[in-house]
Subunit: 333 residues, 2 copies
């Protein structure tokens, strides 16, 4: 029969909580109580749980993932993938939603210090990555996303310029010439980096970019895509194709096109970015840039665990997530 915490508590004549506190080395326990509990543990040959053993080896085997938005399918799928990648390695991931607020992002970097986590995978929106290196956090950090931290932190990111170039070039290859872009004002550098790839593709095809076709929107959600698409349809010369800087924007744009009675892709072809599940099941299904999410998750976790293992002095690594253009009904009928 397995000895339980409650058996230890009974033998030591203390509460289960006190035994737990001793095992977890919490402060404010008298040495007398500690000795009593430790004697009971030895007498009963009690084997403490994983987290207690982890504490003894100086690690908790918990890591944190800080993302701006849980309810955004891309981040939800990212969180799931990173949880799975970590679990394969015996690590549990705790996810913190910062909502991209500076205060919450600061709490991740500062306040997490109090948590028994070994390191942080951080997808910042508000906090400039260049400033993360300046914080006093004692935890290893791996950065996700468009901006780097001036060479101070490991980072895993898609080549957004190349991916946006690929998406736009696909629309050009279909014979489209008035190609709009939705999301050029996106946070964390996303908007400007993806616009660079979009303009580069237009330029390579000899098409002048038209500022009237570049919409910033107010966010990266379905409602923003729907509103931007309405603006585009109201133009004297509406677009014949739209590259949306994420799938949610594209799904919102598709809804506006359906409401307007327009045909996709015949009237307007649509490409997204992220390859969330929603786009795969949508009618029409969504052509999109598909980053290799498993690759991203595996490498982000691997980099972090390597730092946690003590390779803190190794050179900073910047990994590029492979991506593919996945062609579906929204650009091919």
């Amino acid at each position: 029969m397995v000895t339980r915490l409650s058996d230890v508590a009974a033998r030591a004549g203390v509460s289960v909580k006190t035994v737990s506190n001793v095992i977890n080395d919490y402060p404010h326990i008298t040495s007398q109580t500690r000795a009593k509990v430790q004697a009971a543990i030895e007498e009963l040959d009690y084997r403490p749980n994983v987290s207690a053993r982890s504490l003894r080896k100086g690690r908790s085997d918990f890591i944190a993932l800080a993302i701006p938005e849980m309810a955004s399918p891309y981040f939800a799928e990212l969180g799931a993938a990173i949880s799975r990648a970590a679990k394969k390695r015996g690590i549990t991931v705790l996810i913190d939603q910062t909502e991209g607020e500076a205060a919450a992002e600061k709490l991740v970097l500062d306040g997490m210090r109090g948590q028994l986590i070994d390191g942080i995978i951080f997808s910042p929106i508000t906090t400039s990555p260049a400033r993360i290196g300046e914080t006093e956090t004692a935890k290893p950090i791996v950065l996700l996303g468009e901006r780097d931290a001036g060479g101070r932190l490991d980072r895993v990111a898609v080549d957004s310029v190349q991916a946006s170039y690929d998406a736009t070039t696909h629309l050009i290859s279909l014979g489209r010439r008035r190609i709009a872009a939705i999301g050029v004002g996106g946070g964390a550098g996303t908007g400007s980096v993806r616009r660079r790839g979009y303009r580069k593709a237009l330029k390579a095809a000899g098409i002048a970019h038209d500022p009237a076709l570049e919409l910033a929107g107010t966010g990266y959600h379905r409602e923003d895509g729907a509103a931007s698409m309405r603006e585009l349809l109201a133009l004297p010369e509406p677009p014949d194709a739209v590259f949306c800087f994420n799938d949610l924007l594209a799904l919102g744009a598709l809804r506006t096109l359906a409401d307007a009675g327009l045909s996709v892709p015949d009237d307007v072809a649509v490409v997204g970015f992220d390859d969330i599940e929603d786009g795969r099941y949508h009618s029409p299904s969504l052509t999109t840039i598909a980053p290799d999410m498993e690759w991203l998750a595996d490498h982000a976790v691997e980099l972090l665990l390597d730092r946690i293992a003590g390779n803190g002095e190794a050179a900073r690594r910047d990994l590029t997530v492979p991506h593919t253009l996945t062609i579906r009904e929204s650009t091919s009928s």
Copy 2:
């Protein structure tokens, strides 16, 4: 000028990490080092961060939310809502994805003990809530979902029987008579509880339930809904309406109906459950049961904080989340 951790470290002649360890009361610090750091803190009037202050008051102001699946939009939106509700009260939520595995759910209940969290909001799939009360966790727990814990834990849940009754009755009111149900095999009691409401509505309308129209599927995802709908369309007498036990199943079913060239709602009317954002933007938009997510989040956090505040002896509370039937294009043309 604000005193920084690095100033304290410089004054005490130790590393920033050592200062952090002292503030966080980590073990394995000599009393000499501790004294040096504490003297430096006093001389410089250093104000430790939130988490260090929390430790002194015996709370971390972090709570955990354990959900089966991050990438499922319902749980993603739930996580976001609970994070927001907690933040309003100065609490940070860490989210753990259990994937409904017994081992991971046990880790939540046991292993979380090592984390500096004040309590847990738990949405179990595999672990029987009746057994949660038996675990040795010292943390307060609030349960979400269909099954209760034999009266031992606070719980917040939708009245799934009533909600399913409402959804089915809506389809009956449209004149539909061959009403299928998808998801009757769902985990954590969801499938059986929602089927009870579905059958109750059929019975109230004098319609015999037909086991051929009740599909279990293998999960609660889009692919399961799509597969179940294909099975239903292959019946000698296909249904004229489908009640799907969550929105993902409904979105998968809609995809199958589109592929089959059938018209929604004319040929087949579809109702979901959850009111995820995806269903609102889909073409056709999805009629669904909309639980009041903000209410759920506010009350779950409030209940937990009340327990954390020490009201552990108060009677167990079981709160019912208000829901509405939101009628959209998938049942009204």
